[in-house]
Point group: C2
């Protein structure tokens, strides 16, 4: 198996101003092609350090060395300068390319450096921005230099891997099972015995987050039968397992709604539009999603969603009664067969003794039936909204599966 090292360059990364997503993107693409990343390293815009670290990577004989960042036109971009010194080469200006790219982006004064590469390298074209990438072989390593802007980096990486090197994606040696509705400890109890029987050829890891726990199965040898084990595990996990690999609850729910020709409306309170936003992130959501009301203020609950004032006064806005009425009424007003409603206290203020901070009611209306659940998510505001969003989609998915 070929191995790779990734070097990301930028003061802003080390200062904590910028989250480096490039190392992850590169590893992900390499992993799909059976190339193993064994190191991520981030260093500042410092000529000496860049030279030192790239040199070390070469000594370690990585098959691939990926370098990102510091190729832009501003004065802090010094990656090329460092590499010229290290590889004792010079700059090559691609004037034809410069003319073409200046025209394409309609830039009269595009800095010359945007079309300059190391003389020993091949250019790697950028279909999105102006900075050129480059690649070349040095000793045992293939060195690939890419700009730091994530979207440009990713597109150039894929064109390098797919078009230039023709490195095909392989059948995955990793499968991830996505679960929701169950905490890590309980989940681990549930599958402990199964894992202990199967951990000779497969490595199991648990990745908890506020959207659920993922169980990752990695094949350790050719004798591992990932698919079979995955299927058995999914059976044990039952309804907690909603999807495999990158499949999200949003996608699961969308697909069922489209396939069953159902339509959906939403009435959100504490989530403030988050559920609608996350479902419309998916292209094609217009096939089932009609619309929603964010009834943040109680007057909107009354006036638009037609929750009787007496109900609000008697039970409070955060109550089973109001939540159910929200779901029921939004489906009537928006004329949909399915609806989601939620009302809760995301904080940081607003908790009471009977209804502590974190309390939330979620209702799903479906084909003249209604289901409501109460949760207390004792977490910060941001996580509370995320957990409420996810719990709503999980409840909806469970129901949609059965109808």
């Amino acid at each position: 198996m070929k191995i790779a090292g990734i070097l990301t360059i930028g003061n802003e990364i080390l200062q904590g101003y910028t989250l480096d997503t490039n190392a992850q993107s590169i590893s992900e693409e390499l992993n799909k092609r059976n190339i193993k990343t064994t190191i991520h390293l981030s260093i500042p815009d410092d000529i000496f350090k860049i030279k030192e670290k790239v040199d070390k990577f070469i000594i370690k004989n990585y098959d691939y060395i990926f370098i990102t960042g510091g190729l832009g036109p501003t004065h802090d971009d010094i990656t090329k300068k460092a590499l010229i010194e290290l590889f004792e080469t010079e700059i090559k200006f691609l004037s034809d390319r410069h003319t073409i790219i200046s025209k394409k982006f309609n830039k009269v004064n595009l800095p010359k450096c945007q079309s300059e590469i190391l003389a020993i390298s091949n250019p790697l074209e950028n279909s999105i921005g102006t900075a050129l990438g480059m690649y070349f072989k040095f000793k045992k390593s293939e060195i690939i230099i890419l700009p730091g802007v994530p979207i440009e980096m990713k597109s150039m990486l894929c064109s390098y891997l797919d078009d230039i090197k023709k490195i095909r994606k392989v059948t995955n040696n990793v499968i991830t099972i996505n679960t929701c509705g169950i905490y890590e400890t309980k989940l681990y109890e549930k599958v402990k015995f199964f894992i202990s029987k199967n951990d000779k050829h497969i490595f199991f890891s648990f990745l908890p987050s506020y959207e659920g726990v993922k169980i990752r199965l990695t094949a350790l040898s050719d004798q591992a039968n990932l698919n079979k084990t995955k299927n058995e595990l999914v059976k044990i996990l039952d309804d907690y397992a909603y999807g495999i690999d990158k499949v999200t609850l949003e996608e699961k729910v969308s697909n069922i709604l489209i396939n069953k020709n159902l339509n959906l409306s939403i009435c959100e309170s504490c989530t403030g539009g988050f559920i609608s936003k996350s479902l419309t992130d998916i292209s094609g959501s217009s096939k089932f999603f009609i619309g929603s009301v964010v009834a943040y203020n109680n007057l909107i609950k009354q006036k638009i969603v037609k929750i009787p004032k007496v109900t609000l006064d008697k039970y409070g806005a955060v109550s089973k009664q109001v939540s159910e009425k929200m779901a029921l009424n939004i489906s009537k007003i928006f004329k949909t067969n399915i609806s989601i409603a939620c009302t809760g206290i995301s904080g940081p203020e607003g908790g009471t003794k009977e209804k502590p901070l974190g309390t939330v009611f979620i209702s799903i209306y479906y084909l003249d039936k209604i289901k409501t659940k109460k949760f207390i998510f004792n977490v910060d505001r941001k996580s509370h909204r995320l957990m409420t969003k996810q719990a709503s989609l999980y409840m909806l998915w469970r129901i949609l599966k059965e109808i």
Copy 2:
């Protein structure tokens, strides 16, 4: 100035399944306290590699060495094992702590390892989860070991820095100016001359994203007058500069709405709830945000937002006329003095010759006036929604400043 090295451990990071946010969080906190991070390193769950890299960090005399990941209860958590071997120490079980934490989290069978630390270390308590952290001095380095779950890691990190080490935050030697509504090239043109006059003591860097371009000013010497330079630059940037450091457009807009005692409603189409979601991310948004309608389907635009069918038919849903009517009507229906409306084609499908993919109309209604702008954001669906969200808030901010 003290320096720090950060080591994050986890196969899932190197495989590209998990985005490592811990290195950034740690650097950010250290930066606030004038401790300079000079390296981020991620390696797999591999005893040999962990030992090798921690050893190298110690040889390099980092003042602080932060290690995260691999402290959990599952079998793939081997950080402690590696460190025990490296430091030739043993495990110490804190039984009192174990009793307390089992009770607190109501867990009968909490694994013993969750209360085990290296015998040479001090425990670092976890107020959110069950895994203990630890810290100790070794040669010239202070070594701090933290769990990989970001929210636990961050809270323990801050309690280590603030409570245990009492490392105070310092006046910042970095200021960031956040801009919107202008592309990087044009922005650079605008400030190039100013920068060239001021770059002796201050380093300027440009950080573009779909939410705008940030200009970061870093003091290079004691003679740098960051605040004065920032003020001058903000003056040149005029209305493009909306905030300093972590200030978002959401916060700016919220504060003005609250201070001027105004209230807001939103009618979203292509953004599907994103604008409402991002404003309600802020706690206290209930002081000005009344609610919104996500009119995804044209029937909702007609029936709920009362856009006449003739207007929709004549001009199309993505038009200045419909956008304005959406803003106007939502403010009437929700009885607010301000409203935002947007309607556009986020893609990947739906573009026409006259209205290409990426076209979007944004309207702001304010105190009986209305302002509409047309944009063509020629980017992918996700970025289109993000740019539309940001452009809406930027338009609103510009208007709110004047009224």
